[in-house]
């Protein structure tokens, strides 16, 4: 009598639905069997072909015969369909496992002498216990195809030579090149020079941008909070006002304000007798402009945050310190400052990651210019991300762009992992469990 579960399980392994039929759950059995039949008849040939295409990436290029174009293999289509096939195969495998487990479980019920559910009860259970799965399905599909698929696809491209001018389908084929692109990035002079130069500026920029906004924000938070300053809320609100304007508009406005020849800033400088500054034309000034504009944007964030922390510090601490004879200055350095830094220092890491990838600011403000002749498609103020964007949209060097994006990701991933250890949500989640 203990055999039902095993027999059912084995039957379901052989063919989906068999185990359910054996358990006399006919509807379920037919349903599972149908899925497998559907897969074998409709999907299998496609899957096999796509997987093969994924491995070879096409053998026949486009040909011109008697003035007419004969379509060859489209390498990228093959790759995309290959990945889709893998995903579909994966989904099918999951359903297969569900089918086996279900047959086994119901078989066990029979071994224990209980009667398996009929279709109505099954549906009821499905609706009841399967509700969360139902809710998750749309989002899962979206995520699978719009996030996971592009991700896998993007990573794979780094290992091909998909680029202009010689490897653009449908005219030409794309091939797998292994780690060649990565090696080239570091070995090929023009590429490595660009990569290291841009990477260096990206790190410098991220550090400077984060540090300046952090400390200027701190400065203003302390300033506004000091004794005897009235209209605290007014000052805080006014500094936050720029945020209400959409970011890209503000940056474009700044782009015009700092315009070397016609912008108002240079006009005013000239009015006071200072020579106009080449805000965008000179490489060093361009970098300074980026930092300045980012400061304008960024310091209110830290200021607001730190103001919140400062006002939250219990007054009792200050009173106790006063009683002990501490001066105002000592109170600041020993109470205020440490508490604020303790609360906001974790944000420095997040800020670094944010600025590391602050594509919007750089691209909209300077477009990466001024151009650098010794760089491969990058300018003096380009950060890794904006260089990547140019490689993709303007130069069609998809393979290198992909390589760079993987490298950027590795950096960000490391930072994120460090950060996750401190994420409150995650910790609370564990506590609730």
């Amino acid at each position: 009598m203990n055999n039902h579960s095993e027999k059912a399980g084995v039957l379901s392994i052989l063919f989906m639905g068999l185990g359910q039929l054996y358990n006399k759950q006919y509807f379920k059995g037919f349903f599972f069997a149908l899925i497998e039949i559907f897969f074998i008849i409709l999907m299998l040939p496609f899957t096999v072909k796509s997987l093969r295409g994924l491995i070879t990436l096409g053998d026949t290029p486009q040909k011109m015969v008697n003035g007419k174009i004969i379509q060859g293999d489209h390498s990228i289509f093959l790759m995309v369909f290959g990945i889709i096939s893998l995903l579909v195969l994966f989904i099918f495998a999951v359903i297969y496992v569900i089918n086996v487990k279900d047959a086994f479980r119901v078989g066990m019920l029979r071994d224990e002498g209980k009667k398996p559910n009929n279709i109505r009860d099954s549906l009821h259970v499905l609706y009841d216990r399967g509700f969360p799965y139902l809710l998750l399905t749309p989002a899962a599909i979206f995520t699978l195809f719009l996030t996971v698929l592009p991700l896998i696809f993007g990573i794979m491209i780094a290992f091909t030579n998909y680029s202009s001018p010689n490897h653009l389908p449908p005219r030409s084929l794309v091939d797998w090149v292994g780690f060649e692109n990565f090696i080239n990035l570091f070995k090929l002079p023009s590429l490595s020079r660009t990569f290291f130069g841009v990477a260096l500026w990206t790190v410098t920029w991220a550090v400077l941008a984060t540090v300046t906004t952090f400390f200027v924000g701190l400065f203003f938070a302390v300033l506004i909070n000091s004794n005897g300053i009235v209209l605290k809320k007014f000052w805080r609100t006014i500094y936050i006002l720029p945020w209400a304007v959409p970011g890209f508009i503000s940056i474009l406005i700044m782009r015009n304000m700092f315009n070397g020849q016609f912008g108002p800033i240079n006009k005013y400088l000239q009015a006071i007798g200072i020579n106009p500054i080449p805000w965008f034309a000179d490489p060093t000034w361009a970098k300074i402009t980026c930092i300045l504009v980012n400061l304008w944007f960024g310091f209110p964030y830290y200021m607001a945050l730190m103001s919140g922390v400062i006002t939250g510090i219990s007054k009792d601490l200050y009173e106790a310190a006063s009683i002990e004879g501490a001066s105002a200055r000592q109170q600041f350095w020993k109470i205020t400052l440490p508490m604020v830094l303790f609360a906001t220092a974790p944000l420095l890491i997040m800020g670094f990651a944010y600025n590391f990838n602050n594509f919007t600011l750089i691209y909209l403000l300077t477009s990466g210019n001024p151009t650098n002749a010794s760089y491969n498609f990058a300018g003096h103020t380009d950060i890794l991300l904006s260089w990547l964007y140019k490689l993709t949209l303007e130069q069609n060097q998809f393979h290198m762009a992909s390589v760079v994006s993987i490298l950027i990701f590795i950096v960000i991933a490391i930072i994120s992992v460090i950060n996750f250890r401190n994420t409150r949500s995650f910790k609370e989640e564990d506590m609730i469990q």
Binding site: A139, I253, E429
Partner: protein, 279 residues
């Protein structure tokens, strides 16, 4: 800081001067662009802070010489559908992950966290190429799908946190009364979550208005452009001969967004305090 005595007063005056100067720096660009939009002429060079002659011509030029109205409708359409789609996806996901305990839940949570960490750019090229192959490039639908899909990880995490904060007694009481899953979802939990839902809806409505990167990546033809792309091209295209029009456009885009943003801020605070007081 000591507020007594002459030294104290001197320091305070100094602080006030510093604060005022910074306030001017913060506001100046905004005032400048508003004034520029009223300036006659088209070039950056000829604009002065106080216009020599007030003119509203540029506001009309936007609609006549450029396709501002079209951009506006495009962006509105994209924003609206993105809002709908993302709310549905986010809420369903968050609800499932918060209220139920099921196999694969931990996996789902981990996936969301990891995906949240993946910066958008990683998928940027791939999404571009993918849409290219699927012929969804240069379509609004493609953009809407991408925006909505991208909204899931971050939004779901936030909403899940909110759902976690609603006391279990409420849905459990409903269940005892015999309510089915859907009923609990629609009649009990949804009304309680209005603040966070509004927040998600509003932020996903605002986002497409402000997005430039993805829009520029996906959309090509002139009749599909959004406001962000249109404004960008006005400033970077020619040599600043369309500056004043840009200014007018900037003002027209910034005002509604600013208002929405202010409104959103109130909701965040309201939602957060309500969520806290509930538990």
């Amino acid at each position: 800081m000591s507020a007594k005595g002459f030294k104290g007063r001197f320091v305070r005056v100094f602080i006030y001067i510093l604060l005022t100067l910074t306030a001017i720096t913060s506001i100046y660009p905004i005032i400048w662009i508003i004034m520029s939009s009223f300036n006659p002429g088209t070039a950056l060079y000829s604009t002065t802070l106080i216009p020599k002659k007030f003119t509203l011509a540029h506001y009309t030029e936007l609609f006549v010489k450029k396709q501002f109205g079209l951009w506006y409708m495009n962006t509105l359409k994209i924003a609206f559908f993105t809002m709908l789609l993302s709310v549905i996806l986010v809420v369903a996901t968050a609800y499932a992950l918060s209220q139920f305990r099921f196999k694969g839940r931990r996996f789902g949570l981990m996936t969301m966290l990891v995906l949240q960490a993946f910066p958008g750019f990683m998928t940027m090229i791939a999404v571009y190429l993918l849409l290219l192959q699927l012929n969804l490039l240069d379509t609004h639908l493609g953009l809407i799908l991408v925006y909505s899909g991208g909204a899931i990880p971050g939004g779901a995490w936030l909403v899940k946190g909110y759902f976690d904060g609603i006391p279990r007694s409420l849905p459990e009481a409903a269940k005892i009364d015999g309510a089915g899953n859907m009923t609990i979802f629609l009649k009990v939990m949804m009304p309680l979550s209005m603040p966070i839902l509004t927040f998600i809806a509003l932020s996903n409505f605002i986002a497409p208005w402000m997005d430039f990167i993805l829009a520029r990546l996906v959309l090509r033809s002139t009749d599909k452009k959004t406001l962000a792309i249109g404004l960008y091209e006005m400033v970077t295209g020619r040599m600043n001969t369309e500056f004043t029009m840009f200014a007018a456009g900037a003002v027209m885009v910034a005002i509604p967004i600013t208002i929405l943003f202010m409104f959103l801020q109130k909701y965040i605070i309201q939602g957060l305090t309500e969520g806290a007081s509930k538990s």
